[in-house]
């Protein structure tokens, strides 16, 4: 279900009154889960199984992790394996259940229908890892098992095809007569091999919970209902923001105090998000799609302007989604983190990542960059640079299984590594004019967006080449589109200037709200899905 559709409005008109009616009872978390599952299942009810799998797995793994001693103790693994001699009854039960599951799944794989074999093997491996976790019963092992098993569906649905295609290409290059099976042939019951919407988001959110509990940064959630709400909270289920357990979970502990301001603030956020998506993002998409579908037909100005237009399209699309998500959550009394903060006014690449997809940037900073930097701290600046490159390579791969995303991530990683020290220098901070820094960063970010948006790597390279070599003919961009982007940019500049107060006046706020509402009726072009759903 999309926020920008009528069914969502009806959904909300049912969910909200029932939620507020149940606010004083213990049933409201259950109602939230029902609502969230309906919201997700509207797209594909079968893939609800993945949400349920992730929720149950992470909840169990963290519960089992908590039973392990803080300090590493030597365990008699042989005695546990041969005589089921466990110190902890729960670990023993987990081991027996997992081992039984492995045997059962292996039996079905061997004796059952051939179409189920790959699924049974995959589930068998997951159960085997759980058995290994129970056998060794250490926090570190449970962390590893939790991470691997949580990532497994994401890796299969998002990266299997990319990996198989590339491996097959390599094998064929070396004339090895082996061809790996296409992942779609591994799906059970003839299900289509589709990327489950939002899988990256709920997987990363769940991973942060496991890691935070392991590191002692978050408490284990003892209520399954509350934890299930944390994983599947419908405003953030599809495209984030990626919340942390420490911020969102406590909000589910009791029914939030909903005031009138929740409605006015939530509606304000939702209106801005809807306008960004339906009017601005969809309008820019018309131009971007036309140019990027056949880059060979367009000259340098069109390719440059389409890239700039894409930068804004992506911001309006994803930023609009986030505003709507935060607005809906706000109406229900929940606060979600800010995800975008005028990213195209950034004065450095690091600054850009503090303003763009903030929840994701913080995630990769905390869970990938920091551990790597700690690991490589002896290499000093080189270690930091290497950690940045690796972190952003992962970020690129997270966005999509294609070489264009890998290059996009690598460019940001290298860009950050090269400018990391420069951005901290007094010269850069005090001497270089702010506007120059903003223009340079925007130009760099736009350059990287070419790889993010292009349909293929050859297309991306063609666009880069043509920007520098093709003729300077008319870009065929509508003046109205340029004016819309210029006005939004001016609004952002004003937001960060001393004149911000002007935008806070009643007249400007009401005027903008009226214009946005009428703009939605007059200019919105259809619905359309959100770009970040594919990630």
């Amino acid at each position: 279900m999309l926020f920008n559709t009528w069914p969502f409005l009806l959904f909300l008109l049912v969910v909200l009154p029932v939620l507020f009616a149940l606010g004083k009872t213990r049933l409201w978390p259950l109602w939230m889960i029902v609502a969230s599952y309906c919201f997700y299942g509207w797209w594909n009810p079968y893939y609800l199984g993945l949400v349920l799998y992730t929720t149950t797995l992470v909840f169990l793994v963290v519960a089992l992790m908590e039973r392990c001693p803080e300090e590493r103790q030597k365990a008699d693994v042989l005695a546990r394996l041969t005589r089921l001699r466990f110190d902890d009854g729960v670990a023993k039960a987990a081991f027996v259940a997992s081992a039984a599951a492995v045997l059962g799944l292996a039996a079905v794989a061997l004796a059952g229908p051939a179409t189920l074999r790959p699924t049974m093997v995959a589930l068998g491996v997951i159960a085997l890892l759980m058995a290994v976790g129970a056998l060794f019963s250490s926090r570190g092992i449970w962390l590893a098992v939790g991470i691997v098993n949580t990532l497994a569906p994401l890796l299969f649905f998002k990266y299997a095809r990319f990996t198989v295609e590339n491996l097959n290409a390599v094998l064929s290059g070396f004339h090895v007569p082996v061809k790996l099976a296409e992942p779609s042939t591994l799906m059970p019951f003839g299900f289509a091999y589709l990327l489950p919407i939002g899988i990256s988001f709920f997987t990363f959110q769940s991973l942060s919970y496991i890691i935070d509990v392991y590191l002692g940064k978050a408490e284990r959630e003892r209520s399954f209902l509350r934890f299930a709400n944390f994983v599947c909270f419908f405003p953030i289920l599809m495209s984030g923001p990626i919340e942390r357990a420490g911020h969102l979970l406590p909000q589910f502990r009791q029914f939030p105090a909903v005031r009138l301001q929740n409605f006015t603030d939530g509606a304000s956020l939702f209106l801005a998000g809807l306008f960004k998506k339906l009017v601005l993002a969809n309008y820019l998409a018309l131009y971007v799609d036309r140019v990027y579908e056949s880059p060979q037909s367009f000259g340098a100005p069109a390719l440059m302007l389409a890239t700039i237009a894409f930068a804004w399209q992506l911001y309006f699309d994803f930023g609009g989604y986030t505003d709507m998500a935060r607005g809906v959550a706000k109406i229900m009394g929940f606060d979600l983190v800010l995800n975008f903060n005028h990213p195209y006014l950034a004065t450095g690449i690091g600054d850009f990542w503090r303003r763009w997809h903030i929840s994701f940037s913080r995630w990769i900073l905390d869970y990938i960059f920091m551990p790597l930097q700690m690991q490589w701290r002896e290499w000093r600046a080189f270690g930091t640079a290497a950690a940045l490159v690796v972190t952003f390579l992962v970020s690129g791969i997270w966005h999509g299984a294609a070489w264009t995303f890998v290059i996009w991530g690598a460019l940001h990683g290298v860009g950050l590594a090269l400018t990391f020290e420069l951005e901290r220098s007094a010269f850069y901070r005090k001497r270089v004019p702010k506007a120059v820094k903003q223009v340079c960063v925007f130009a760099f970010v736009c350059f990287t967006w070419i790889f993010f948006r292009a349909n293929s790597l050859p297309d991306a390279l063609l666009i880069v080449r043509r920007i520098f070599t093709a003729a300077w003919d008319g870009p065929q961009i509508p003046g109205l589109m340029l004016a819309a982007v210029a006005l939004v940019w001016l609004y952002h500049v004003l937001c960060e200037s001393k004149l911000r107060g002007v935008l806070q006046t009643r007249f400007v706020r009401v005027g903008l709200a009226v214009l946005m509402m009428l703009g939605l009726f007059l200019c919105s072009s259809g619905g359309g899905t959100f770009i970040y759903f594919q990630f």
Partner: protein
Amino acid sequence: MGTESPTSKPAAAPEAEVPFSSNEVRLDVRQWFLTLVVVTLVMLLTPPLWERIERFHTGPDYRIPYSLSKDYWLYARHLRQVCDPNRVIVLGDSVIWGEYVLPDGTLSHFLNREAGEPNRFINAGVNGLFPLALEGLIEHYGRSLRHQRVILHWNALWVTSPKTDLSVDEEESFNHSRLVPQFSPRIPCYKADANERLSALVERQVSFVAWVSHLQNAYFGQKGILNWTMESDGGNPPRCPNVWRNPLAQITLTVPSAARDDAKRGPKSPRHKPWFAGGAGKTRFDWVALDSSLQWRAFQRLVGILRDRGNDVMVVLGPFNEHLMAEESLRTYRKLRDEISAWLSRNQIPHLAPELLPSVLYADASHPLTEGYELLAKRICAMGDFQKWLRRQ
């Protein structure tokens, strides 16, 4: 992030921790109220004001131009403008609208000529309609059609096969999908998603939305205003002639009228020829039984809507082109026609079944050529029942 016990944590994060947004559109209750009042006033007042400002010339023989067939707001306005107790509104699909003929070659034109009054019979047909859509059009956009004499045309084409009846299960794309029943009764071949169906319902209820659609149809080539700025000439590389044009300048405040010399219609057009001229032979139809036909049921409901609104309805059956039917199909057709006639009689609905036209006067299965309409009008006017109905108070 701390490690406090669950109970020691606050129920919600303090507001100061989470900034509201990166923009400043944060309205309080009063501001929301003001915003909603302004937007509601604009939405309520714009369509009626626009109707006063925009020029809309509807003289004798006026019919909604082909390019504005989906401008339902204009259709409603047309009906409001022409409804008069002394006039007769002629309702129907492209047979009434005149698919192969010019405005002065339609049934309403020749009826006017027979009556000796230039504007007594009003062409309220729309190209591309069918009973399921006509029902929606009249129910939602024909509210001004009250206490009026109405001629309603029944075209048997819509029951010639399950496909034209829209009762097949396979997805079909058809005209005027926003007019058909969106949820009930169910149309099996209509597979639009819930959002599309709900937005069609909203458009019917909110006049402002239909008015926006009118702007798009009348001034922006059936496109959204933003899409219009990106309209391409189809070349390679595509050129967009509208990129620097001012969209507001397109709004000329005059409803576009149909081109006078429509090359696709009228006696001079290559399409204006008898049905057999292209070598077409006899056809077998897979007739749909009336008791299971979606289109016939919609027609029945439509008659009910019109009569409930105090209209005096006269149904004209066909005349469908029997010349192109294979013998077997013809028998079934006549049986269906008799069933329809019996239903109309049972419900005391005046109806006429004009005599079959000569084969040479049909352009296809249901549309007459200009001379066909002329003859049909003469025959209708010569029928005693019709004259009696016309004179009835």
